[in-house]
């Protein structure tokens, strides 16, 4: 098994290098450099040129690339944000926690919706509930994320007023208290439900098919003829076997959550990394943008690596001996 994992991890190295080159080239294509923001009416052009020379901006591109990578790996230095006037890494660090919590809540809600629905729909195939699940699955697959988010925000945020419409926590609540925690939850719940509804389709579909297939398998027949109660057959025997592919998709689920966060966070004005990305583009804050693209890229690469590793753990057939 370790051989497979090692081989898979090695594939990631060229992928990381290509990704970093793409991000670097994109960064070079962006207008301006770290000193453009310093230029005012009475700045000495010579001084700026000197600063550029000192920072190595006139070096050949491969040396610039090498220095750029070196700074990122050794000090986590992505440069400075023009608009926030602070280190990009500090800024992203502040936002990353918000995105992380939102993603975690989304994951929990996704599986809370998807696992029971998938199993019941498969168990009671062609029942009214199954038909409702199929309709739900179809709609949640077809609806674009931003349309669903806006409609839910209009209904639950504005018309019913159940949840706040912007932000991540009520202002003035002390950090670390229980009230703070519940306020966070209150602000996160609608974005999380929205993102979760959009992500359930694959899991439900897969679980439903797996359960329907499993019903006719020998091990289920054996369990039933041994006298295992039907409920236990479903909760112990079928459920465990059906869960394997879901576990394998886990890495991709994380990846999808990250790219979906751009839409969800923007619409709900939730201060996470996705919202930071859009606002940094709108203010042309290139160093933040660049760092975020690289970060999201590395995270998605890691997500797919994780998926493959889980797959080799749960499915012995794809291991290399």
């Amino acid at each position: 098994m370790w051989k497979t994992v090692l081989r898979r991890a090695l594939i990631m190295i060229p992928q990381l290098i290509i990704l970093s080159v793409i991000v670097f080239v994109l960064g070079k294509m962006m207008p301006g450099d770290p000193f453009t923001g310093l230029i005012t009416g009475d700045t000495d052009a010579k001084a700026i040129a000197e600063l550029r020379e000192k920072a190595g901006l006139n070096d050949p591109w491969h040396i610039q690339y090498k220095n750029w990578i070196k700074r990122i790996i050794t000090d986590g230095d992505f440069g400075k944000s023009y608009t926030y006037k602070m280190q990009v890494s500090t800024l992203i660090g502040q936002r990353a926690a918000n995105t992380l919590w939102l993603s975690l809540l989304t994951l929990v809600i996704t599986y809370l919706i998807a696992v029971p629905l998938g199993i019941y729909a498969g168990r009671y195939q062609n029942s009214p509930l199954d038909k409702i699940v199929i309709v739900y699955n179809f709609v949640s697959y077809a609806i674009p994320s931003f349309v669903l988010a806006l409609l839910l925000l209009l209904i639950f945020g504005y018309n019913l007023g159940w949840v706040p419409t912007t932000g991540s926590v009520e202002i003035g609540i002390e950090k670390g208290t229980l009230a703070y925690f519940f306020s966070r939850l209150h602000y996160m719940i609608l974005p999380a439900i929205t993102a979760a509804v959009l992500r359930t389709t694959g899991t439900i579909q897969y679980l439903r098919n797996e359960v329907i297939d499993a019903k006719t398998q020998d091990y289920v027949k054996t369990a039933k003829s041994k006298g295992v109660p039907t409920n236990k057959v479903y909760s112990h025997h079928i459920f465990r076997n059906s869960l394997l592919p879901i576990a394998a998709f886990f890495g991709f689920t994380i990846t999808g959550l990250l790219s979906g966060s751009v839409f969800i966070e923007t619409i709900f004005s939730y201060p996470g990394m996705g919202e930071l990305f859009i606002s940094s583009i709108n203010s042309r804050d290139y160093s933040v943008m660049n760092a975020l693209v690289l970060l999201f890229g590395v995270l998605t690469l890691t997500g797919s690596l994780l998926s493959d590793i889980i797959m080799t753990i749960v499915d012995p057939r794809i291991r290399i001996e």
Binding site: M30, I143, P144, F146, T255, I281, N282, T300
Partner: protein, 310 residues
């Protein structure tokens, strides 16, 4: 049964050979689809609704003068729906209904263009690498793997911002770069299994040229799967385009899209106070997505004999 009797039977069968042949002819894909739509009334309703939407949007936008619709007239700022403006006006006094037609046309056309480009690329590349296999196949598949795990949304947005003199064609090109992978994978896997079949081997032995085998032998056999994917990715591409335009990084600012109309929801006070600004476009996108996907599912069922209703 003696030999004689069998011979007599076949002789009797030969009498109405023409009739028998008409029985054993496989029905064409189109006639299967027709039967499926007859069995599924909702799919037929969706198809008709789609045709009505497309016809309205294209005829309406052809009649309307885009410059006149997009002209700013501050006296009509934020007029609610009424007699003069069917769906009200935006901040610049421009008619929402007019923008809906023009934006709808742009969104549909771009979704269509991207679908055609990516599908063509995917079908050609997928067929070639699936048929020949080997090293090229390996390389192309690694490239596909890589593109598929890139954060496409973020990269597209970055490209949109970075490209100077950005136009609609740039946008179509950038989207195509990221979304040809799906079709390529699908066609490749189908072509791979298809090229191991006996009829392809027979064709090879007879000396048929590779190109003829690919486009005359394999392609017709996987065409139904390609058509299904075409329809579903058409819906997906409209969703992606409107989504990016909604964020402000899709079509260039002067070109209205359904996404830019939905984006009015983000102007302060418009979300709940001025529903006419963004709700019609959102509902139009929603209805189109549901209908196209439903039609796509009906066609998918038709392409798989096990799932057919009709």
């Amino acid at each position: 049964m003696s030999k004689k009797e069998i011979n007599a039977d076949t002789a009797a069968l030969e009498l109405n050979e023409e009739e028998l042949k008409s029985f054993s002819n496989a029905p064409s894909f189109w006639s299967i689809i027709k039967r499926e739509f007859k069995a599924d009334k909702l799919a037929t309703a969706c198809l008709i609704l789609l045709i009505i939407i497309f016809a309205t949007v294209f005829i309406g936008s052809a009649i309307l003068d885009q410059d006149q619709v997009m002209r700013i007239n501050l006296r009509n700022k934020y007029k609610p729906p009424g007699e003069q403006f069917l769906l009200g006006t935006d901040i610049g006094g421009r008619s929402i209904a007019g923008q809906l037609l023009i934006g709808g046309r742009n969104s549909i056309s771009i979704g269509f263009a991207v679908t055609i480009i990516t599908s063509l690329l995917g079908a050609v590349i997928g067929l070639i690498v699936g048929f020949y296999g080997g090293k090229v196949d390996n390389i192309i598949m690694r490239i596909c793997d890589f593109i598929q795990i890139l954060p496409a949304t973020l990269l597209i947005i970055t490209f949109v911002v970075v490209i100077p003199n950005y136009t609609m064609w740039h946008f179509i090109f950038i989207m195509s770069v990221f979304y040809w992978v799906g079709m390529t994978r699908l066609v490749r896997s189908k072509a791979l299994t298809e090229s191991r079949r006996d009829y392809i081997n027979a064709s090879k032995i007879m000396g048929t040229s590779d190109i003829k085998i690919m486009y005359g032998g394999i392609l017709p056999n996987i065409s139904s799967i390609i058509i299904v994917d075409l329809i579903l990715s058409f819906a997906g591409n409209i969703g992606i385009e409107t989504g990016l335009s909604f964020l402000g990084f899709g079509l260039p600012p002067a070109t209205p899209s359904l996404g830019t109309l939905v984006a009015y929801a983000r102007t302060p006070g418009a979300m709940s106070g001025k529903l006419w600004l963004w709700l019609p476009a959102s509902l139009l996108i929603l209805v189109m997505m549901l209908c196209i996907n439903y039609v796509g599912q009906a066609v998918r069922r038709a392409s798989d004999a096990k799932q057919r209703l009709g």
